[in-house]
């Protein structure tokens, strides 16, 4: 921790990077830290809502033939549970962590396209509100995967699926914006000297995630637009009666949907790698192995979508290839798990809440991974597909690979997010309660799957032998809920905790070299990096080639009233040039609002409104792109 002197950032620099404390300033804010926190806070709200849906669904299934929810309400609740968790919670929260922490971790002042960051947030918020507005009209009931023809015009004639299709499509824009942003940041804005092989593993995870987003999400957007046209205009892309195909949607959905699983997973395991290394007090063993694995997972994730479709009746040879490809993930995960074990083996372990959550995540993830291997074996999939065995499997993977790591990340980076620590004692209670709850929820579901219980049933007949397992699951969810509420309580309580030092955990990466909470400009002087763990391995973050040091020094004096950062070369991290980032702007939220208006128009067949919304969107985009001043003219010096 030799290089972690707190940096008092100069007032001039701070003022250039600050947002005015007015409504305009709040709406037009583009700072990555503020936007990242907005993503996280909004995501937490959706997590609680998605959890509430899970709780309702589980209460209904506690005992056969209960009538807590009727059939229709149950179908809406399980659909909205999936939609909320998959689209409105996991991906945005991962983006939130990335948007907040990555610029700090790679040592720069902001993301390369700050207005796009802000736009991404507004799109997310408005798409979320749009999807939840369905509760005022008609709630979608076609599952998060929205299979046709169930969701087509013949079988879901109401507004519910239109909310789904328009809302989810809109939301994907937010993910793509974040994907572009993160790739550009990690390729061009790393600190001088941070060669690509010195990039922290969370960075690698997010870089690959960014590319997966770019290749996966457009397919869902196109697929959804085709279905919406089927519904609104009467085309027949998915209508088998007149030559369309019901299977086409499944291909398009899972071409997105399977890579999406790795979009959830990679950031989670990237965060776990950071945390395990910090609390084992040693660099992660097998950095190169893990990076290679991450890239291989990213590529392979596009080669296994058919394993969601083993029962649709495709030729055995075809699906066997996809089964084989799915099994290869066992090797990729094996490398990742053994890198963690080797790191723990070498290190000296410090137990903290983030570390507990990380180890809990690893164990949970391994169980989910093993059941995943069995599902990749095609004939067994014919048995287990669409039963509770699958429900158990993917909850293990998502909770072990994403949700527990996110809790770990929240406890870990909370001092950077808020300047204060979360209560460690509450954190440990939170962990143990959550871990007991989730295993009690999902372990029995493997068994009830074998006993023949299909997914997505609103109730079941008594006497099939499913009762004890379902009751256990329900009790498990109630216990998990207590764990989640403890986290919320800890988050509120942390407001009154004392301020944290810059590096409370003794970690080695750049985000810990600046103050907690982080100043507006992130670093007074941008760091120069010579190693993977600069705070552990470098005596100073200021020394480097004379030319670099001189140019970085000039950036500490914002003489031009501009938001300046540096770009570096893609591989070697050589300092290249100084670029100016745009200041705050009202256009991002206005553009997003206009798109929302257009979508409301399409939703209710008010095409005049849709047209007006499109025109207004174009106008806003023009306003956004209009050449303007990149500096603050009021504060002339």
């Amino acid at each position: 921790m030799s290089a972690t002197q707190p940096q008092a950032t100069s007032t001039d620099l701070e003022r250039v990077w600050a947002s005015p404390p007015t409504l305009q300033g709040w709406l037009g804010m583009v700072n990555h830290k503020a936007i990242g926190k907005r993503f996280l806070a909004t995501g937490l709200v959706f997590f609680l809502l998605g959890g509430l849906f899970a709780l309702l669904a589980r209460l209904q299934l506690a005992y056969p033939q209960l009538e807590i929810l009727d059939a229709q309400a149950y179908n809406e609740v399980f659909t909205m549970h999936g939609v909320t968790m998959a689209f409105l919670f996991i991906v945005p929260v991962l983006e939130g962590f990335a948007i907040f922490i990555l610029p700090l971790m790679v040592g720069t002042r902001d993301l390369p396209y700050p207005r796009l960051t802000a736009f991404g947030y507004w799109v997310y918020l408005m798409a979320g509100v749009f999807l939840f507005a369905s509760f005022l009209v008609e709630v979608p009931d076609g599952g998060w995967y929205a299979y046709v023809p169930f969701t087509g015009p013949d079988f879901s004639p109401g507004f519910g699926m239109d909310f789904w299709l328009l809302g989810v499509t809109f939301l994907e824009i937010s993910a793509i914006a974040a994907g572009i942003e993160i790739i550009a940041l990690l390729v061009k804005n790393r600190a001088p000297g941070m060669t690509i092989s010195r990039m922290p593993l969370f960075g690698w995870a997010m870089l690959v995630t960014g590319f997966i987003i770019l290749f996966a999400f457009p397919t869902l957007i196109v697929g959804s637009i085709l279905l919406e046209i089927d519904r609104k205009v009467g085309t027949v892309f998915y209508n088998p009666e007149v030559g369309g195909s019901a299977i086409l949607w499944q291909h398009m959905f899972w071409w997105f949907g399977h890579p999406d699983v790795y979009i959830w997973l990679l950031p989670g395991i990237g965060a776990v790698s950071m945390i395990i290394s910090t609390f084992a007090r040693t660099p992660l063993v097998g950095y190169t192995w893990v990076v290679a694995t991450t890239i291989v997972i990213g590529v392979l994730s596009f080669g296994v979508w058919v394993h969601h479709m083993f029962t649709v009746g495709l030729p055995l040879l075809t699906i066997s290839f996809f089964g084989g490809a799915s099994l290869v993930f066992a090797v990729a995960s094996g490398i990742q798990v053994f890198a963690w074990i080797a790191t723990l083996w070498r290190g000296t372990i410090v137990w903290s809440t983030p570390m507990l959550f990380s180890i809990g995540a690893v164990v949970t993830f391994i169980i989910g991974g093993l059941s995943g291997v069995t599902l990749g074996v095609v004939p067994f999939n014919w048995l287990a597909h669409d039963t509770y065995y699958v429900v158990a499997h993917f909850h293990y993977v998502v909770i072990g690979g994403t949700v527990l790591p996110m809790f770990a990340a929240a406890y870990y980076w909370w001092p950077k997010l808020t300047g204060r620590m979360l209560d460690e004692r509450l954190g440990k209670w939170n962990f143990w309660i959550a871990i007991v709850g989730l295993h009690l929820t999902f372990l029995p579901q493997h068994i009830v799957g074998f006993l023949g219980m299909p997914r997505r049933v609103y109730t079941f007949l008594p006497g099939l032998g499913w009762e004890p397992y379902n009751l256990a699951s329900t009790v498990g969810v109630l216990i998990s809920a207590v764990g989640v509420l403890l986290f919320v309580f800890a988050a509120i309580k942390s407001r009154w905790a004392p301020l944290a030092p810059p590096d409370p955990w003794g970690a080695g990466t750049l985000e810990w070299s600046t103050d907690s909470p982080v100043p507006n400009a992130n670093f007074e002087r941008l760091p120069i990096v010579h190693s993977r763990y600069p705070l552990w391995e470098q005596p100073s973050l200021e020394e480097g080639p004379e030319d670099w040091a001189r140019r970085l020094d000039t950036l500490t004096q914002p003489g031009h009233r501009m938001r300046e950062v540096v770009t570096t070369s893609e591989i070697d991290g050589d300092l290249q040039t100084i670029i100016t980032l745009p200041q705050q702007s009202q256009w991002p939220w206005l553009t997003s609002l206009m798109i929302t208006l257009a979508l409301v128009g399409v939703l209710f067949d008010a095409y005049w409104l849709a047209l007006a919304g499109v025109v207004a969107t174009v106008v806003c985009a023009l306003g956004w792109a209009w050449p303007g001043r990149d500096y603050d003219p009021i504060d002339e010096r």
Partner: protein, 329 residues
Amino acid sequence: MLNGRLERVVADVAERPSSLTPQGPAAESLASLWWVMFWLAMAVFVAVMVLLALSIVRRRDLPLEADRFTGETLAGGSNWLMLGGGVILPTAVTLLLMVLMVTTGADLRALGNPSQPLVVEVTGYKFWWDVRYPDAGVRTGNEIQIPAGRPVEFHVTSADVIHSFWVPQLGGKIDMTPGEVNTLRLQADEPGVYRGLCTEYCGIQHAHMHFIVVATPPDEFDAWLAERVDPPEEPTEALAQEGRELFERAQCVYCHTVDGVSPDVDLGPDLTHFASRRTIGAGMLPNEPDNLAEWILDPQAIKPGNRMPPTPLTDEEVQALIAYLETLE
């Protein structure tokens, strides 16, 4: 009260639909595939957990911060750990599983490989099953008779949304997709009654879209099939005759086929030989007069959201209708 009868339809009519009590060759090879994978997975899990625990509790020789900078020098040993545990172990297990996957898969698809299999066509409807024996020209619904010990080839499709056809005790499942016909070969080794279910979410009553598979000795099956070729005899009893009239007058005929009485319609299950079936409401209630009366008067109270509307009949009329339905052996 309903719960008690539901419990009876489960306990009395068919076995529990558990994949772990297989009753045919396909389900047996799936179950044994599972147990092989289960023990492999357990072995891997225990091994990894032991390593993880050891890595956490092992005695440290070095003080807290001493070995932080030795990452590269220690990399040699950890590379071997990673190669062994991360690459060789999972690759070996994976290759074994790939072989099992391909051989088991091919066995199941070809099951028994008979030259002239018995074909049964099953079509999924929201929320019931239409069953046809194309070679014999016989139609029924929600209950499939098959000969024990003989492979049966199911040709499945859907008339509306995607359903999925699964008899856990007999084998794997296959989707019923509109516009496509999928085949699935199953065999029941012994005579018995097995429960099947829809496993693809298909709407409001997906939960109660079950069916019954009845496996009988082959000669019994042949006799059953032969009997079903002819339409049922006209009722002779006065009450039943009245019921037959009601069947036409109360609009039952628009949705339900009774061979010789109403045309071939598919809005509801075929009722030609209804009296010999074990359940009503697609595996939901035992086929008994009281349940039937309740179902006819208000099917929405039992299975809300199914396609059958309530039929406003007096008590006498219901008794007559049931008397007629009871003659449809």
